[in-house]
């Protein structure tokens, strides 16, 4: 590892600093180094090298001592992360344990984190949908948050740019509300999903069930081979890290690419304490870190700084970057820093039994997970008693039939039966939430972590709009399932806290007006032009698409502008 003990300021000076190595930080490093800049990437956690540091990736189920289950003492000590579906024996080493990194929940918030090189890009659900103009125009049309400073046409080329490199599988569905992208072949719908898709199309206006679009190499192109990645092998063990590079992660894709350029220095174990602002120069000059091993403070300097620490930690760093010019946090003239945090409403799901289709099953595994229903509520105009809407995951499956109850010889033989049981179908909601000033994060006034950083105090909650949307999801999906002839339909709502969706966004929102937003249309701090924020914290609104693809596109777009401005001497 480079430069653990650098003593000269010159050796700690780079063209650009990237804070964070997750999905957006990886893109910042890749784009900046592609353009010839010397970059240091600061990651608070340990290094995770592609393949080498995926210790469980080739393990069989019986090789896990508890067959995947997390021991009870770990669950008891870490209730928040234990609620995450992917926190299992095979991937637990990629998750932050509650005990290790505490935070303050003024209101219940399940903050799911991955503190390592690659961040949560190792663990994400890999669903990738573009936003449309209906999404970017949402706040202005419906009168909430502030107007997005960009529209679909501003970001569309950058969606294409990142999709080609990351590798996105999907079909050209031709839907205005979910624009097509640069797709590798989509993963097909199975017999029941396909039936439901056709049924919905025939019975509902503007409702569609499409193949889920995901960041998997269904059929790699040369650009993916050049990254050292090969075709997705349908393992669906992605959360362990993929030895094939079958799905997109910083570890498999952007970081090794940037390292190969020779322009990237990667510094793990570096908690960014603050961004250094120089009052005289009127710009940020670098960042101050704490080395988590030595507890020593160090400074790194650069002309431009990309903040990609993941939504809430980016808020934390900016809030903690206080100077005489910015006593309330870097760039926070407006007072909106930390406010208008939003998330995705995953508070309901539905399941049913399906009669028929007995002649069909599936073979192998579908990394896309099945189908996706783009938002159909309030797309073209306001039509319900709540704002915005929800997308739906949709999947059908059938397994071998066996009895769970019983004992003895015939019971044992039955467990190995290869006769198929019935089909089941299920869906979950992914709802847009409305950013509000009252949903915010702030520095805790008293408590600090092991590195002397104030703890983050999180105060985020659902509202009436979310409740109405949940109700509508249950009603609409129940009706659609009933109409399709599905049986024994059971809708369930849950009371999961915000955060468990792992789609927290906002706090450093983009906007046209410096009085009401933190970032301009280039993800540049209005008040500190050489600092760029391109992770989830920059989101003005949340729409209901899985957000990572948009972070990637915003990042590549912001880098292009930043380097161009740098070359012009404007920053």
């Amino acid at each position: 590892m480079a430069n653990l003990n650098i003593d000269s300021a010159k050796e700690r000076t780079f063209d650009a600093i990237v804070i964070g190595s997750g999905i957006s930080g990886g893109w910042a490093a890749k784009e900046l180094t592609d353009k010839g800049l010397k970059v240091i990437m600061l990651e608070r956690g340990r290094d995770v090298k592609h393949i080498k540091d995926y210790p469980t990736t080739n393990m069989y189920p019986w090789e896990f001592k508890h067959r995947g289950q997390i021991p009870q003492d770990i669950q008891d000590a870490n209730p928040v992360v234990s609620r995450c579906y992917a926190f299992r024996e095979d991937a637990q080493h990629f998750f932050v344990k509650d005990q290790e990194h505490p935070y303050v929940q003024t209101k219940p918030f399940d903050w799911i984190r991955g503190y390592q090189v690659g961040g949560k890009s190792l663990l994400w659900a890999r669903q990738t949908q573009r936003w449309s103009n209906f999404d970017f125009e949402g706040p202005a049309r419906d009168g909430f948050a502030v107007d997005w400073p960009i529209r679909y046409n501003d970001i569309a080329p950058w969606y294409s740019h990142v999709e080609k490199f990351a590798g996105i599988s999907g079909n050209k569905d031709g839907l205005a509300e979910l624009p097509d992208g640069e797709f590798l072949p989509g993963f097909p719908l199975n017999a029941v999903e396909d039936y439901f898709s056709k049924h919905v199309k025939g019975h509902y206006k503007n409702r569609y069930v499409i193949s889920a679009r995901c960041a998997h190499l269904s059929k790699p192109n040369q650009i993916h081979i050049d990254q050292g990645r090969v075709q997705c092998q349908n393992r669906n063990l992605c959360q362990r890290g993929c030895p094939f590079g079958g799905y997109f992660s910083s570890n498999a894709s952007t970081i090794p690419w940037a390292l190969k350029s020779g322009n990237l220095t990667l510094r793990p174990f570096s908690v960014v304490e603050s961004i250094i602002y120089d009052d005289k120069k009127g710009e940020a000059t670098g960042v101050r870190i704490v080395d988590t091993n030595t507890k020593q403070t160090e400074e790194y300097y650069a002309k431009i700084i990309f903040v990609n620490a993941a939504c809430l930690n980016t808020n934390l760093i900016l809030l903690n970057s206080k100077s005489s010019r910015f006593p309330n946090g870097l760039g926070n003239d407006s007072g909106v820093l930390g406010k208008y945090v939003a998330f995705h409403n995953y508070s309901a799901h539905i399941g049913a039994e399906v009669e028929g289709f007995e002649e069909w099953a599936t073979d192998g595994r579908n990394p896309a997970g099945g189908g996706y229903i783009p938002r159909f509520r309030n797309v073209f105009k306001q039509e319900t008693d709540f704002l915005r809407g929800y997308a739906c995951g949709l999947g059908a499956y059938r397994g071998y039939k066996h009895e769970n109850d019983g004992f003895g010889e015939s019971f044992k033989a039955g467990l190995a039966s290869k006769d198929y049981g019935p089909w089941y179908v299920g869906s979950h909601m992914m709802g847009e939430t409305i950013p509000k000033a009252s949903n915010f994060v702030a520095l805790d006034s008293a408590k600090k972590d092991a590195w002397g950083m104030p703890l983050l105090n999180i105060s985020v909650d659902y509202d009436d709009n979310d409740q109405k949307m949940q109700k509508d999801y249950v009603e609409q999906l129940t009706e659609m399932f009933t109409s399709a002839g599905f049986k024994n339909i059971k809708a369930e709502t849950n009371h999961q806290a915000p955060g468990l969706d792992i789609h927290e966004m906002g706090g450093v929102r983009m906007g046209n007006d410096p009085k009401t937003s933190m970032l301009n249309k280039w993800n540049q701090l209005h008040a500190c032009k050489n600092v760029f924020v391109t992770d989830g914290s920059s989101m003005t609104s949340t729409s209901c698409q899985n957000p990572s693809l948009t972070y990637m596109a915003l990042t590549a777009r912001a880098v292009d502008n930043a380097v161009s401005e740098l070359k012009k001497g404007n920053i």
């Binding site: 069989y60 997390i70 092998q233 192998g364």
Partner: protein, 192 residues
């Protein structure tokens, strides 16, 4: 008095017996993080597991050491209150067997073992004898004990290397997704 009535009477007093020491005192023969177990307890769980997944032409619970898996999961992956309930239920189970047959579960015949297990099945087979499976007859700890041994045994079996390589083959690298897979193909392949 016929046997059935005798058992019913015995079951009635069991509620009051529950507060009495319920484990056969015996020297610990295995040590876990949260508890020790004695030979009787080890034998009981091993025999129960073997009754649920018996050795046939293929390995059974003993061959696959599923009893050890039950103890491991009880130790590592079970809440304290559920663990405590497990031991209470295990004591009640042993007592019920002793009072019904005047011997330990291990000493029971296959038929007797099946009669006992059928008592605690969620869907007892009407064709099969049981002690008395009317609702509320047994404590939730007793039913929970059997339920836990059952699911952990079955879980351990279906996630064992044997099962996942010889019975229903689990693939580490499928390398394919066929969304429309004709069931008749599978049947032909398995029978062919």
């Amino acid at each position: 008095m016929d046997r059935r009535s005798a058992i019913r009477n015995l079951a009635l007093v069991m509620g009051s017996a529950a507060i009495l020491p319920y484990c056969t005192p015996g020297k610990p023969t295995a040590h876990y993080t949260h508890f020790d177990v004695n030979l009787d307890q080890q034998n009981l769980v091993a025999e129960l597991a073997e009754t649920i997944i018996p050795k046939t032409t293929s390995p059974g619970a003993r061959d696959l050491e599923l009893d050890k898996f039950v103890w491991l999961m009880l130790d590592d992956c079970t809440k304290k209150e559920d663990r405590d309930a497990f031991f209470k239920g295990m004591g009640e189970f042993s007592d019920l067997v002793t009072k019904s047959y005047n011997k330990t579960f291990s000493e029971c015949t296959k038929d007797e073992k099946h009669t006992i297990l059928n008592t605690f099945e969620k869907k007892p087979k009407p064709s099969q004898k049981n002690i008395d499976s009317s609702d509320d007859k047994y404590s939730k700890e007793l039913k929970g004990f059997y339920g836990n041994v059952h699911w952990l045994t079955v879980f351990g079996y279906t996630e064992s290397k044997y099962f996942m390589t010889k019975e229903i083959v689990w693939e580490l690298v499928p390398g394919r997704y066929n969304a429309y897979f004709p069931v008749k193909n599978l049947k032909a392949a398995k029978n062919g």
